[in-house]
């Protein structure tokens, strides 16, 4: 419900009478959508019990692959290529980390990101540390092109997330997360579940990176592969509500909105308030924002 409402609003936002704030809101919203989409992708993986710190890397791989292939392939195939490159990387990473859990998994994925960043930094065809200029989406033919791409990626992420939160996959992922050995003995194909969610999650992360690149028009390894992005992908779902679709969706919009608002309002030092808000959220909303709406007992 919440998800559908947000997506509808996102679609209609450009045609609403927003007055002078229109362009600013559209820009901010676009980055917020990307934040939400990356958070949804992260949450997808978390549902199968894998706490990734590699989503900065998937984002970066997707961004670079899309940026490099866009001149040859065109916008949409390039984005797809970005997603696929990220998915391929995640498949290899997932194979290696199949038996790691919790912090061990998290640090292994962090290590993966750092190594990937160094590779992109050292490679010649990526522009190295100088950075890589990127063509705008659809060669700039549509001013709102990248906005709608962001909406589309968000919708896709939300759709996948929603689809996997019910039916067979929901049970398989939740069981894998809550007791991997038991799940296997009950017949859940844990390896397949883990690798598939990894691939899907990374694919979405790669798409997000591609759209981001086509909006900012410039990539550098320290920005695209930043640890900050991986941490944000983790903060947003916890803040919004883990293992849900509306949680990361709403969480991303509110966190980006809050941050923007605080920056405009307070200016210097606004991040102090931001940090305090996160602390208070955990103390008083242990199940995230969506905990406000759902009073029922522990749904998986």
């Amino acid at each position: 419900m919440i998800a559908a409402a947000i997506l509808l609003l996102a679609l209609l936002l450009p045609s609403l009478p927003l007055g002078e704030w229109r362009a600013f809101l559209l820009d901010t919203a676009q980055f917020a959508f990307l934040t939400s989409a990356l958070a949804l992708a992260w949450d997808l993986l978390a549902r199968s019990g894998q706490l990734s710190l590699a989503h900065g890397a998937f984002f970066g791989l997707g961004a670079y692959a899309a940026a490099l292939s866009a001149p040859a392939l065109g916008t949409l195939p390039a984005l797809l290529a970005g997603g696929l490159v990220a998915a391929l990387a995640s498949f290899l990473l997932g194979l290696a980390t199949l038996r790691l859990h919790g912090m061990y998994f998290a640090i292994a994925t962090l290590a993966f990101s750092e190594v990937m960043r160094t590779l992109v930094l050292k490679a010649q065809f990526t522009g190295g540390s100088i950075g890589l200029p990127v063509q705008p989406a659809f060669s700039g033919a549509f001013p709102l092109g990248s906005y709608y791409l962001a909406v589309a990626v968000l919708a896709l992420s939300a759709g996948v997330s929603l689809l996997l939160s019910r039916g067979r996959w929901h049970y398989a992922m939740a069981a894998t997360r809550q007791g991997e050995a038991v799940a296997r003995v009950l017949g859940v194909p844990v390896v397949r579940v883990k690798l598939l969610t990894f691939g899907l999650s990374a694919f979405l992360g790669g798409l997000v990176g591609g759209v981001y690149a086509m909006k900012t028009l410039f990539l550098s390894p320290y920005d695209a592969f930043g640890l900050g992005r991986a941490v944000e992908a983790l903060v947003v779902p916890i803040f919004g509500g883990l293992y849900t679709t509306s949680g990361p969706l709403l969480g991303g919009l509110i966190i980006v909105g809050l941050e923007t608002w605080l920056r405009l309002r307070i200016g210097e030092g606004y991040l102090v308030i931001y940090g305090l808000v996160l602390i208070l959220a955990i103390l008083f909303l242990p199940r995230g924002l969506v905990g406000l709406f759902r009073k029922g007992v522990g749904r998986a």
Binding site: E20, F31, S129, G131, P133, P136, Y212, S220, E268
Partner: protein, 385 residues
């Protein structure tokens, strides 16, 4: 009675004609040292302009967050909500590059304070309202090379370069290597990760090379570790020469800083009238002296804008741009005027390599030592490390 009204109206009309009001967007990473200094400078400059009474500058300050994802919406807000026609900003190269899209879309007069990377020059090459005050990276290289030539004449032959592996350190590294070799130097270059604080291993590697000059391109966080560990490894170069955008606070009071040379566009001790004036004004407003050259840079941008607006007698961005293109003024950095850039890609380039000066930490303060016409003291070479 009627007459009085007429007089009043004429007076008011005359006043409003005489006073041009400018709304200026300021887009800087205000949580970084350089960004904060730049903002202080712009504010100080705007105050000076307003005090003259002919032009009223209203600043709309926005944090660019030092990140593309923050800077792009922030620029959009300046253009559409605050409806400014003129933007001062663009400190970091990556962020400025990301701004090139929306800048071309909204067509402001863009006064660029930093962004030395020539990648940025390319991005703005077809944009006519782009005024770039800061020298480009090739200017920086040229200035440093002049100094190296001087050192070569004084017997230096081997240069070890330590460069951080981000865009700041890596951008000019190939040019440096080629040019230094052309000057007759033997060069060994090693990258490092800025802020890691561990240089002993790389410095140990360089020991076999026995460099005369240890040239490092990194950030303020690397200054002390390099100074300390060069000694700990026993490298004993004849000169440690650093090129960070800023130096640590209080570094001059640390005995390890002694004899270390560096490059900057400005020092508070620079002896020209404009510089002294800036230092006085800055101290009066902020109660301290700044070492950051971004402060006078911001100040110069605001002053030059005020002067152009006064000459244009209008707040129209194109008329101001036309006047700005003709501005000739003295600044803390020396004379400022706009010419097409050396590569011919952009039309309005403010400063070039001539603003750079080399200094050395000597007896607890930084003193200009090169070029000779601006030197306050002779260079101590070889230095003692």
């Amino acid at each position: 009675m009627k007459k009085l009204w007429v007089v009043l109206v004429t007076l008011l009309a005359g006043l409003s004609l005489a006073q041009t009001t400018l709304r200026v967007g300021v887009l800087l990473p205000i949580s970084t040292v350089a960004g904060k200094a730049a903002l202080n400078g712009v504010q100080l400059g705007a105050e000076q302009v307003n005090a003259s009474g002919k032009v009223r500058m209203e600043l709309v300050v926005v944090d660019d967050g030092n990140a593309p994802a923050t800077a792009v919406p922030a620029l959009t807000k300046l253009m559409t909500v605050d409806r400014v026609d003129i933007v001062i900003g663009g400190l970091a190269s990556g962020v400025t590059f990301a701004l090139s899209g929306p800048v071309k879309q909204y067509q402001p007069l863009f006064l660029c304070i930093g962004a030395a990377s020539s990648v940025v020059e390319q991005a703005f090459s077809d944009y006519g309202r782009f005024f770039h005050y800061h020298p480009w990276d090739y200017h920086n290289v040229a200035a440093a090379l002049e100094f190296f030539k001087y050192l070569y004449d004084n017997g230096a032959r081997r240069v070890a370069i330590l460069y951080e592996d981000g865009p700041f350190g890596s951008a000019g590294i190939q040019t440096y290597r080629q040019q230094l070799e052309r000057q007759g130097y033997t060069v060994q270059a090693e990258p490092f990760k800025s802020g890691s604080g561990s240089f002993t291993a790389i410095l140990t590697r360089l020991k076999a090379f026995r460099p005369d000059i240890l040239y490092w391109i990194g950030y303020d966080v690397d200054a002390l570790p390099i100074a300390a560990q060069t000694r700990q490894v026993g490298l004993e170069p004849k000169l440690i020469y650093g090129a960070p955008p800023a130096w640590p606070v209080g570094f001059e009071k640390n005995s390890l800083s002694n004899d270390i040379a560096g490059m900057t566009a400005w020092l508070p001790s620079v002896a020209n009238a404009e510089s002294r004036r800036f230092v006085t004004l800055y101290r009066r407003k902020f109660g301290e002296v700044t070492d950051e050259y971004m402060a006078p840079m911001g100040y110069v941008i605001a002053l030059s804008l005020g002067r152009a607006a006064e000459a244009a007698g209008s707040s129209d961005k194109d008329r101001i741009a036309a006047e700005l293109a003709k501005v000739q003024m003295d600044t803390p950095f020396g004379p400022l005027s706009f010419k097409p850039s050396d590569t011919g890609r952009t039309r309005y380039q403010g400063f070039n390599q001539s603003i750079w000066l080399q200094f050395q930490y000597l007896e607890g303060s930084r003193r200009p030592v090169f070029p000779p016409n601006r030197a306050a003291r002779p260079l101590r070479f070889p230095g003692n490390y």
